[in-house]
Assembly symmetry: C2
Homo-oligomer: 351 residues x 2
C-alpha cells in the first residue's frame, strides 16, 4: 500500500466489525485459519520469544512480538478477569505490523475483536488435526465473550452443529445461545459441567478466573475426546485436573511459553508435548486413534496475531475500512526533525 | 481523565508539536528532565527489563516496557541508519500508557518527536550530576535529527551557551547551526572531530551508523571532560575507542541493557559502572573532582519514556491537544462481545 510517510493506516473497532461483516463471519474465520496454518507451516522462519508480561494482582499486560524477517508484528493484550464487574472487557488488545527493512509501522489495528476471532480460528484449526473426523458435538464451558466465536469457528471449519453450554452464571449461557440462534448450531444449555460434556466429542474450556480452577475433573473425560483448553493461559491460571493431562496427548503452540502459562505448568518441565506446527507441516502425527484423548493446551502465540494482522492488512485496500493516523514525524529533510518542529510554530499553531 | 470506555486519547505528531510550543521548548525540556529525575529517584519501584529487540541487517525494532505497579508504559522504537537515504527518519517511535488495575490503555502517543526531547532531557539531566559546574561549551559530533534537541537541553538545564559542531556531512552542521540561530547559543562549525572537541567541557556524540565506529579517540579527551555518548546504543554500534572507557568514570541507566547495547559492550562484563539513579538519589557520588573524566553511556531506558509519556498525559486535559481513537471494543454487556459484532451488522454498515 502506498502511503504518505507520516501516515499509518488504523483499523478501529468500528472498521474491524464492518470488515468482518463485509467478508462474512464464517468466511473470515476460515480464511484467518488458513493464514495461521500457512504461517505455522513455515514456523522456523519466525523469530520467537515468550511474551513479555507485566503482572499485577488484578491481571496481566503482555507484549507479543514476532517477525519473519520481512514483516514485524506485535500485540498489546491484557487479561483482567474482574474487569467485567465494572463493565470492561477481560481481554482488550491492539496490534501493529511494521516493515523490518525500515522499522516503519505498516498498520495499527484494534485486536480485541480480532483476538477473539483468531483464538477461535486457532482452536478450530488445531481441532482439524486433533479431533475425530466425525466430531459434531462440542461442550463449551465458560460462555463469556469468546464462546460464540469458538462455536462459529468449529462450525465453519469442522462442521460442529451442536454445542452444549455451561457457565456458572446461567445468564451467560442464555446470552450465548441467543447470539447463536440462526447460525445453524443447535444449542443446549446445561446445569452442570458434567452434564455439558455428556456426549460431547470436543470439550472447550474458556473460563476467565485467574486461579488454579478445576473446570474438568478426570472422570468427565472419556476416550476419544478432544479437549480445547483455552482459558488457562497464565501462571497460576489453569482449568484442568492434572490427571487429565497425564492421560492426554498434549499439543502446544510454543513450548517455552506454554510451559509457563498453559495447563502443562502443572506437569514436570520435561513432560512430552507435540508442537502444533510440526503436525501441520507433516513432521509429527496428530490424532493417532479413535480412543486417544487429545489436548490442545492453547495459550495464544504471537505468530497467530501476526497472521491475523497480515490477513486484515490484505483486505484494507479493497475495502477502504481504515483511517489515516498521523503517527510518524516526517520532516522534509529527514535529519531536520527540529526544523520541522520549529516550522510548526506558525501563527495558526493554536489548536 | 474521564473517558468513554472505547476511546483512547491519541497524541499525533501535529498535536505533540503544538504541545511543545504551547509549553515552550526549553520549559518542556526542563519539566521533562524533572519528571525523569523524580522517577529515577524512585527507581526501585519500577519493573525493569532490557528492551526486546528484533534485529535485521538494516536495523532494529525494539519494545521498551516498564511499570511502577500503577501505570504501565511501553515504547515501540526503530533504529535504521540507512532510512535517511530514502527520506525516512532513522528513529521513529510511538508509545502507550495503560492502567495496571484494568489493563486499559490510557493514552497512545507519537514518540519520534518525544524521544528526541526525552533523550536530550536525559542527557542534560545526567550532565547536571556529571559535568563540571562551570561547563559552558559543548562539542556535538553528529549533527542529525537529535543534535538541536541536545544543544537546547544543555542550554536549558546547564547554561551551555557555546556548541562546536562536527558532522561528516557539513550540510548537517549548517542545518544545525541555522536551526539554533536565535536560541542564545553560539554555534561554531568545525572541519574535524578533533577541532570540535578543542576547548569543549562536554562532548556529545550522537552519530547514527550501525557499526563499531571510533568517533572519539583517546588523545581527544583531556582531563575534566564529560562525555555524553548517545549514538552507541545497539550491539555492534559504538562510538568511542575503548581506551577512553578505561580512563573514565562510567555512568549508565540500566546495566543489564547497557552492557549489551552501550559503549561498555567493549569492556569485560564486570567492569565497574555506576547507576545514574543511585547518583540522583544520593547513594553514589557523581563527579568527584575537576580532572575526572565522566562518561554517560546513554542507550535510553524504558523508565525515561514512561516519564515522558506521563508528562505528556499530564498536559492533555488543559490543552485538549489530542484526538479520540476508537481503539477498544466496548459492548453494552462486557461478556457480549459477539452480540456487539452482530448488532454492528445494521443497514448502515457500509462504510
Amino acid at each position: 500500500m502506498q502511503q504518505k510517510l507520516n501516515i499509518v493506516p488504523f483499523v478501529s473497532v468500528d472498521h474491524m466489525m464492518k470488515l468482518v461483516h463485509r467478508v462474512g463471519v464464517e468466511t473470515f474465520l476460515i480464511e484467518l485459519a488458513g493464514e495461521i496454518e500457512t504461517d505455522f507451516r513455515r514456523w522456523e522462519s519466525f523469530d520467537k520469544v515468550a511474551r513479555i508480561p507485566a503482572h499485577s494482582q488484578e491481571g496481566v499486560i503482555e507484549l507479543m512480538p514476532t517477525t519473519d524477517g520481512e514483516v514485524y508484528g506485535f500485540k498489546y493484550v491484557n487479561g483482567h478477569p474482574k474487569n467485567t464487574r465494572a463493565g470492561r472487557q477481560t481481554v482488550t488488545a491492539f496490534g501493529l505490523l511494521a516493515d523490518m527493512a525500515t522499522g516503519y509501522p505498516l498498520m495499527l489495528s484494534e485486536m480485541t475483536m480480532l483476538t477473539a476471532l483468531r483464538t477461535a480460528a486457532m482452536s478450530a484449526l488445531a481441532a482439524k488435526y486433533l479431533a475425530r473426523d466425525d466430531a459434531r458435538t462440542m461442550a463449551i464451558i465458560g460462555n463469556g465473550a469468546q464462546s460464540e466465536f469458538q462455536a462459529l469457528a468449529f462450525k465453519a471449519l469442522l462442521g460442529v452443529d451442536k454445542v452444549r453450554l455451561y457457565d456458572i452464571e446461567r445468564s451467560a449461557s442464555v446470552k450465548c445461545a441467543r447470539n447463536l440462534a440462526g447460525a445453524g448450531i443447535d444449542c443446549v444449555i446445561c446445569e452442570t459441567a458434567e452434564e455439558a460434556v455428556m456426549g460431547a466429542d470436543i470439550v472447550t474450556t474458556v473460563t476467565a478466573d485467574k486461579l488454579n480452577a478445576t473446570i474438568l475433573t478426570d472422570n468427565m473425560i472419556g476416550p476419544g475426546i478432544h479437549i480445547n483448553a483455552v482459558g488457562g493461559d497464565s501462571p497460576g491460571k489453569t482449568e484442568l485436573h492434572p490427571d487429565i493431562l497425564l492421560r492426554s496427548s498434549i499439543f502446544v503452540e510454543y513450548p517455552p511459553q506454554t510451559r509457563i502459562e498453559g495447563e502443562i505448568q502443572q506437569l514436570p518441565a520435561d513432560h512430552a508435548v507435540t508442537e502444533l506446527w510440526s503436525v501441520m507441516s507433516g513432521r509429527a502425527p496428530g490424532r493417532q486413534g479413535r480412543d486417544e484423548i487429545t489436548l490442545f493446551d492453547s495459550v495464544g502465540f504471537a505468530v497467530e496475531d501476526f497472521s491475523a494482522l497480515r490477513y486484515v492488512r490484505s483486505k484494507l485496500l479493497e475495502t477502504g475500512l481504515f483511517e489515516e493516523l498521523d503517527l510518524l514525524a516526517d520532516p522534509d529533510e529527514p535529519r531536520d526533525l527540529f526544523g520541522m518542529l520549529m516550522r510548526a510554530k506558525a501563527p495558526r499553531m493554536v489548536a
